[in-house]
Amino acid sequence: MQTIKVCDVSKNYRDVLALNKVNLELQAGKIYGLLGRNGAGKSTLLKIIADRIRPTSGQILYDGKTVLDDSTSRQLYFSEPDKTFPELLKVKELCYYTSQFYPKFNLDEVQQILQNFGINEKKRLNQLSTGNFAIVRSIVALQTRAGFIFLDEPTLGHDAVNRELFYNEVLRIYREEQNTIVLSTHLIDEISNLLEEVIFIDRGQIFLEDNLDNIITSHLYITGPSEQIERIERSYSVIEKKENLGFVSLLIRPTSVTPDLPDGVKTSRAGLQDIFIAYSKKKDK
């Protein structure tokens, strides 16, 4: 499968509009970050892409086709935090059943990896802690080595050491398979180094979608005394304005790489998290 296209997808849960005319194209061979606050619509979008729920309107195209048939569904795997597996299933059995559907699944390798995380594969899923269940489902998801892997909140409940191990595992599978991995999370700074593409979602709408480096290089903080900043403020599209102690800081999208600024005005780069927060606040107004 080469692309998955989300076309004009909306989803209502009774009166709540969870997704509002979302358009998106996911390409083969990239790591995407689907980033948004709690309740932004991340999980709803992923569930619709994975065909677990139906959109209220709009459609998903898998290489141009509207239907997920048997061979294309083997090229897609969706892992969600909700406990959708039979809870009496043993870890080992979950691995075995998954391997029956995904031919690249390597049972010996998974056994080794779960050992590295200190997880006993003889345990039943309902005997695992929240953190360990998250590890099991994420490791199983990655091991499917499917062309498109969707991981919804993969690190929910992981401790710092396990998160690090997990991120290494994401990159290892990606290097070996050159597949598409979509990580949905609100822990933005932590995963930003893993990403190639970023999708920001808020209140059911995608408000920024671009290559990570483009996002970082196209945003800039300018900081200086209030009167200086106010004089130049109008020439830029301002995403966020922060004032404190006579100084004003603007997050802008400059049109040139090095904008011409008056003396006393300093520039600094914004991180992905800063940029995300700025856009979210802007939408609040």
Partner: protein
């Protein structure tokens, strides 16, 4: 080579700069191989595409070259070329902020030059 999480510049630029420093410092001598995209991705836990972008910039700027099927190598003469590049950037990166700060503090040019000489003597 180290990545700095506080440094908000794109990671590929930090990779590029780190490799440049390693070439300048002699860690990667001319005509020897620099780390592969895979190695950089593993060591720094970054997206391989990002690592590749950093490495490719060195190729594009003519400091390194690709040997097909083997990897990326430091070009002969790369150290001198890199020094030239850094010298050109020196004014912008180091001198301009230094002079700006000196002016803000009413430090005269004579004083500044004298202090630079004194500091240099102290280092030797």
């Amino acid at each position: 080579m180290k990545l700095n999480n506080q440094d908000q510049r794109p990671i590929y630029l930090q990779i590029q700069e780190g490799l440049e420093n390693a070439i300048l410092g002699g860690t990667y001598a001319e005509e020897t191989q620099i780390p592969s995209t895979t190695e950089l991705s593993q060591v720094f836990q970054i997206n391989p595409a990002t690592a590749g972008k950093g490495v490719n910039t060195l190729v594009d700027e003519g400091f390194c070259y690709k040997k097909r099927g083997i990897g990326i190598f430091v070009k002969k003469g790369a150290r001198e070329m890199l020094k030239k590049k850094r010298q050109t950037a020196f004014k912008e990166t180091y001198l301009s902020p230094l002079i700006k700060e000196a002016k803000q503090l009413d430090i005269s040019m004579e004083n500044l030059i004298r202090w630079i000489k004194e500091a240099d003597d102290a280092n030797n």
